[in-house]
């Protein structure tokens, strides 16, 4: 693998500092709620300011490890992390519950995670609920009006990216020059599991964005709204997107945002062109029989 001396991998906390108003992070505090600092240490949550406005930040901390859950280290989202992140979102909604939509605070997700906790205890307790709860919380907050911007600064891998990132209104990513990784699985693993020839996969990956790894392919699929080319630009681009999202929501155009919005973008950019055709045909088929079911 290439070496990137400027990489942000493993530097979630540094990224927070680069993005927020200087020294504005109040870690483990959201509204009137205070988090247990010992809990879910692989996740950083707190209140920040962006141009003087309160916002919630949720980031990975790749430098911690857990005595209770030994598979959780290096930015992995474990049981505690998932619930901590979900709590951060719910507490954010709670803090602004009485405010009108245009005043609901933004949530900034700083993404650098290699995966979900892959252990036996995790399965016994139900790791799927932990990550699931976080996604539902983000979807609810997004629909309630909170602008949510995710920025991939390092690793955004498979289920962990679904959990931490893919429910945002807009997703940004540092360019691949920073060693940013977005994928489900490296090609070598895909080749091993599907028994497909690696050379052929590599050849196809240059042209077919649906299985190739990398920021640019996700951009083409609509999975990444904008690529941030310089680390110094992160703050400015995030603020710009927050403002755009406020405007879109104020106009009631929620479908342009979030996962559905990424689908529209994917078609526009020519990366995912079949799903909308399939859906259109389904809709037409439904129309011909709808009466039978609506008026059963």
């Amino acid at each position: 693998m290439e070496e990137f001396d400027n990489t942000m991998i493993g530097r979630g906390r540094d990224a927070i500092d680069m993005i927020i108003d200087p020294d504005s992070l109040q870690e483990n505090v959201i509204g009137s709620y205070v988090f247990d600092p010992e809990y879910g240490m692989g996740a950083v949550v707190g209140t920040i300011k962006l141009e003087g406005r309160d916002a919630t930040v949720i980031a990975n901390d790749a430098q911690t490890f857990s005595d209770r859950f030994p598979v959780v280290f290096g930015g992995i989202i474990g049981l505690e992390e998932g619930y901590k992140m979900a709590t951060a979102v719910y507490r954010t909604m709670e803090a602004d519950a009485d405010k009108p939509m245009e005043e609901k605070r933004p949530i900034v997700l700083i993404v650098d995670t290699p995966g979900n906790g892959p252990g036996k205890m995790e399965e016994i307790a139900g790791m799927n609920k932990s990550t699931g709860s976080y996604q539902l919380a983000l979807a609810e907050a997004r629909k309630a009006g909170h602008p949510i911007v995710a920025i991939v600064i390092g690793r955004a891998i498979s289920g962990a990216f679904l959990c931490h990132g893919l429910q945002a209104d807009h997703i940004l990513a540092l360019s691949k020059d920073y060693g940013t990784m977005i994928h489900v699985m490296p090609l070598t693993s895909i080749s091993r599991i599907t028994k497909m020839d690696i050379e052929r996969l590599e050849e196809l990956s240059t042209s077919n964005p649906v299985f190739a790894a990398g920021v640019d392919f996700f951009y083409k699929l609509g999975g990444v709204q904008e690529v941030v080319n310089k680390v110094e630009d992160m703050r400015e681009v995030i603020i710009r997107h927050i403002n755009e999202i406020y405007a879109i929501k104020a106009a009631g155009q929620f479908e342009k945002l979030g996962p559905w919005g990424r689908g529209l973008l994917g078609e526009e950019r020519g990366g995912r062109t079949h799903r909308l055709k399939a859906m259109a045909q389904m809709n037409a088929e439904y129309e011909t029989v709808a009466d039978k079911y609506i008026n059963a």
Partner: protein, 319 residues
Amino acid sequence: MKNWKELEASSFLDANARERALGMVEAGTFTEFLNPRDRFVSPHLPVLGTAVEFDDGTVTGVGLIGKHPVFIVSMEGKFIGGSIGEVNGGKMVNTLRLAEKAAVQIKAAHPDEYDARRPLVAISFETGGVRLHEANAGLLAHAEVMDAFQDCRHKVPIVAVVGSKVGCFGGMGFVAAATDVIVMSEEGRIGLTGPEVIEQEMGKEEFDASNKALVYRTTGGKQKYIMQDCNYLVEDKISDFYDVLAKVADLSMQQIEEMRRIGSLKLVQEQMDLVKLVGEMQPKDSMDLWKYYGNESPEALPEMSTAEFLKVVKRRVRK
């Protein structure tokens, strides 16, 4: 194809996706969307030399239980492990959107009868999650499903139906967790990380993926029932799953909401209590927890028939 009565009496585990779809609604009421004759195959598989299926491995459609339109998503584990790609992911998302649309239409057409005509979504999961051949599209589809779930919330109940061979793993594991109601047979499994990957991460001594009894103790229907991660445990018969759907269709939205395990701050707090317990207890086996919840001889539970099990089992107590 078996007729409806024969279908109802047959094994859910052995049934293919289309049989399950037909069996989860009343006889003769199922309309399939993008049926095989539409030939909407994955455009991404042929270039990789992988066989295609006309329905792309997921059967979608709508049927009836009473006056309730039941929107169906039924995954086929035999086709590339039931994995989710661009087309079948899109079919799943759009089925949810159609259910939501139907809810609006019913509210408009029958304002006083919404509860009696309220649509239901039933998802028969049989999948390991993202289809690697079109991984990025599959991943994005998962996020769309979660988004659509949130839109259905409090309006259209979503039921996860899990009793097929592949189980429900990977990204679809948390999709299942995010539904309102989960019904399983003891042969069903729900999890996030598959057994082989856990073995790879922790070593064979800690977790032997070939030990199927261990695998089922960790993620199978009985374990999920004890943990309150599934609401109904039924025998491996299509009619038993159908009966639960019929029952849920007639419950109030409030009763359905109470069956959820995640989806609110209160529920997250309840789950955090469980995580705290697990962190302190460091269970080596799910049976440690079964015992903790008051099952004196946990090793006897897997051997029991579903009926016997339901009679004697002690579950995690919910707040």
